[in-house]
Amino acid sequence: MSVQRAAQLVEAGLWLHMSGDVDGARRLFEQALKLDPSNQRAQQLLAGVATGAGFPAAVAPSPAPVDWRGTVTPVVPAAPAAAPKPSIALSKGRPSVPPGLRPRVEESELNWRALAAPMPGPAVNGEPPPVPVVRPVTFTPDATSAWDSQSNPGVRLDDVKPGLGDAMDLVCSPVRHEDASAAESQRIREEVDTLLRGARDLLDLDDHSGAMELILKAQQLAPSDPEVQSLRERSEKTLLAMYESKLWPLTSRPRVVLKDDEIIWLNLDHRAGFVLAQMDGTVTFEDLFEVCGMSRLDTARILVQLIDEGVIER
């Protein structure tokens, strides 16, 4: 049991590491090793975290990583050199997503990734770096070509029309679909359970922000799960109280300490930039919660980040 639990903790730790919470990940790997000292994966990962050397490829997390803020790290499928064309396709357009599941990769994200120019490598012997060939992402099977009479002269829509219902049943029986979706649901349930266990462990270790990241990932996978929701509400409340205690008293008026030309070198996003722009020495923390147009938790998190990084002071 403890071996299985340790494996789950390693999995959750990997998620956390990919979200940038190295401390949270370290804690989970340590916890995993306490339960299963022989877990080689946990040992390797812990060593990787300690040295900052990163992880060996073999220990990368198995499922596609999901960013907790709502965007999904894209998985760019490699186009097979010669993908066999099916003799028949289910429908035109994108492959369907099983019911109850969100698409794992946003279309716009994929397009952006596919179109983004690759960064050229360093110059070698004064020669310009070789420009890598970018292969466009193509999805197969291609529904249009499947019905294309030229590429599939043997299959014509008109020919199969009278028996279309039967033909479709043959390739897409409801039973098979249910099987597939049940298997997918089961996989997701297991993933959610793993994430929730990791979150609870982190909560026990007082790492609320790390726990929150795992909870949000779990919520992306199971948006209406009551257990996830209640854990999220509880964690949000605790996190907010923690952040607010760092901002206390909320009636104080924060001021920006850094100069404009120093600020631009920071690593902030546009939301932090917006919060920062609201501080003119007259607004209080309480005012900022009202004017920033974000949730109280998000605003508080950004404010604490700005204080921790020495950008603002109370």
């Binding site: 206390w248 008293p249 690593n267 546009h270 939301r271 722009a277 920033c292």
Partner: protein
């Protein structure tokens, strides 16, 4: 000591409160230290009512729950052209009231326009009370010269809701002239050029021997500083899109920052030739990556280029108003600049060129109206030789006639009191009754004017059309109350109506809103106190929590120690319960008790703990 009275300039974009102290009119700063309070009201995500600067700051990120420029709607009918036009451009939800009045829906509740204005007035009242340290109950409030009776009444209602006795509704240009003429002898025709945040008005006054008579007024309710800001925003957006391929208008946070920066840059360019616009981390590129900065230099010349047509529009309106009043620019003794936008050098230059004289400086253009209102308020309560303010009819008055047209009896800009009579005839054969519909407005078409009231004159002699003659008389007294009468010349039969201005609210509604406002203020005060006491108690609990282990260690084994610690623990538990219940009296009592415990702990550590 006389009671404190205030003058309020209730503006479309900003409002100002002033008073007269030691014989000098003075602006009262708001509680954030600024002279101007944005006329913006909002309900935040958390359901909190926001007024002024804080409401303005979130106007773009919370557009549907933020009300600005409500002055354009106050006292108007929902079905009026102006309101229908406003609905198209304002992002908040405007809905019809029960009597064709205008309501604004915020956070699921419908607010009458006087209620919205009252929120701003209440804020200004509170600022004045903070300044004087005692309650303020009386005020003079200014309105544009073109405001009709309904709009003036609605502004009065707003004052009432805010807990103010409105001593007088004063025309803005009159107030400006009063402030400008304060302490000096100004006589002759004076033009007031008022380019504010959202509207432009130009008014010509005849000033002499403490008499201020409005000769003509006109303007554009959709021309002001915000249009200048918009041009700067468009310029910034275009340049950023060229450089990064990102349209910043699609991001509300970015747009809010652009608006703030545009206004700041515009103000700076009135004093300097160029200004730096720095908006770090304005946008994160799609798909992630480092956030982008917007850095630009805007010159005064560029700003003038971007807004040249807006400046020209103001001068065109001046031309129209002066020509209608048959006044030449050279007939004017002075030109007074009002509104923050008149600080822009290009605007001053345009005024100078058109009026052929240097416009008056010396009074802050943002504050001059409020200062004038304060002067008038002070005069009214101090009973210092009444200054006679002659008002004019802001809009034409007339009756509906056959064919759906309007017959104007009293043209706009007529000085009140006034009385006009005209003879009308029946339009049908054997017509025994005639309906008199009293209209206000400038349109030739009856339905495009505002219907102020109607009555029927009966008992007319049966005769072919055009034979029966009816005298119609319009009379406006010094209080601005309009009486209309119709008399059958042959029989002497008479019927009349008195039109009392309505701000859109019935007496009952007004009373209910006033009660609600009182309850709200009471609740807000309680909530502020609760927040303060909670904060106090939480601070004390935190400190006690930190000291507890040390006190425990120091006093361990002693009877005193165990007694104190047991009591403290009980107190802590009670305090946590009080915080959970969120009850003001319990929290206050707990804060007192735990404050004493904290003092005791500190004493123990100081004396015994070293």
């Amino acid at each position: 000591m006389p009671e404190h009275v205030i003058g309020i300039d209730l503006g479309t974009t900003n409002s100002v409160v002033a008073t007269v102290q030691g014989g000098q009119p003075t602006v009262i700063k708001n509680r954030t230290g600024s002279n101007l309070t944005p006329s913006v009201v909002a309900i935040s995500r958390s359901g909190k009512r926001l007024v002024g600067q804080i409401a303005k700051r979130q106007a773009i990120t919370n557009p549907t729950e933020t009300v600005y420029a409500s002055k354009r709607l106050i006292g108007r009918k929902y079905s009026s052209l102006q309101v229908q036009q406003a609905i198209k451009v304002l992002p908040y939800n405007i809905v019809p009231g029960e009597h064709d009045d205008v309501r604004v829906r915020m956070a699921g509740r419908d607010y009458a326009l006087p209620e919205i204005a009252a929120m701003v007035l209440a804020e200004l009242k509170a600022d004045a009370e903070a300044y004087f340290g005692k309650p303020v109950n009386k005020a003079v409030i200014t309105v544009p010269a073109y405001f009709n009776d309904g709009q003036r009444q609605a502004t009065k209602d707003a004052g009432k809701i805010a807990g103010l006795e409105v001593l007088r509704i004063l025309n803005e240009p009159t107030a400006a002239a009063l402030a400008y003429g304060f302490g000096r002898n100004v006589t002759g025709k004076v033009a007031v050029f008022d380019l504010g945040g959202g509207t432009f008005d130009v008014t010509v006054l005849e000033v002499g021997n403490d008499v201020y008579e409005v000769l003509a007024t006109g303007g554009d309710t959709y021309l002001g500083g915000e249009d200048f800001d918009q041009r700067i925003i468009e310029w910034m957006v275009l340049n950023f899109a060229k450089e990064h391929g990102i349209d910043l208008r699609k991001d509300r946070m970015a747009l809010q920052r652009l608006k703030d920066a545009a206004e700041k840059a515009k103000i700076e360019l009135s004093g300097v030739k160029e200004t730096q616009i720095n908006l770090p981390f304005i946008s994160t590129p799609p798909g992630g990556g480092a956030a982008l900065h917007l850095q630009a230099v805007l010159t005064r010349q560029k700003l003038e280029e971007l807004t040249a047509d807006l400046c020209d529009r103001t001068l065109k309106i001046c031309e129209e108003v002066l020509s209608e009043a048959k006044i030449r620019p050279q007939d004017l003794k002075e030109v007074i600049l009002v509104g923050g936008m008149t600080r822009m050098p290009k605007v001053v230059e345009g005024v100078r060129d058109y009026f052929k004289k240097e416009p008056c400086k010396g009074v802050h253009p943002d504050e001059v109206v409020a200062l004038g209102a304060a002067v008038q308020a002070n005069t009214l309560v101090a009973d210092q030789g009444e200054v006679l303010l002659l008002d004019v009819t802001p809009q034409s008055l007339g009756v509906a006639i056959a064919g759906g047209y309007s017959r104007r009896l009293i043209p706009r800009n007529t000085t009140v009191p006034t009385s006009v009579s005209e003879v009308f005839n029946t339009s049908k054969d054997n017509q025994t009754t005639v309906k008199i519909m009293v209209l206000q407005g400038e349109s030739e078409l009856a339905h495009e004017n505002e219907l102020l009231g109607e009555f029927i004159l009966t008992g007319l002699r049966e005769a072919p059309r055009g034979e029966v003659e009816i005298d119609v008389t319009f009379e406006i007294n010094a209080e601005g109350i309009l009486s209309v009468s119709a008399r059958d010349r042959e029989t002497g039969q008479r019927q009349s109506i008195t039109v009392t201005a309505s701000g859109g609210l019935t007496e009952d509604e007004l009373r209910r809103i006033m009660d609600e406002q009182r309850d709200y203020l009471l609740e807000a005060r309680m909530s502020d106190e609760l927040k303060q006491k909670r904060g106090e108690l939480e601070n004390v609990l935190r400190e006690i929590g930190e000291l507890f282990p040390r006190v425990k260690a120091i006093t361990s084994g002693s009877e005193f120690g165990s007694d104190v610690l047991v009591k403290a623990e009980k107190g802590l538990a009670d305090a946590r319960r009080a915080l959970e219940k969120n009850d003001l009296s319990e929290i206050a009592a707990s804060a007192d008790q735990m404050g004493r415990t904290l003092n005791l702990f500190r004493g123990v550590i100081q004396r015994i703990g070293g």
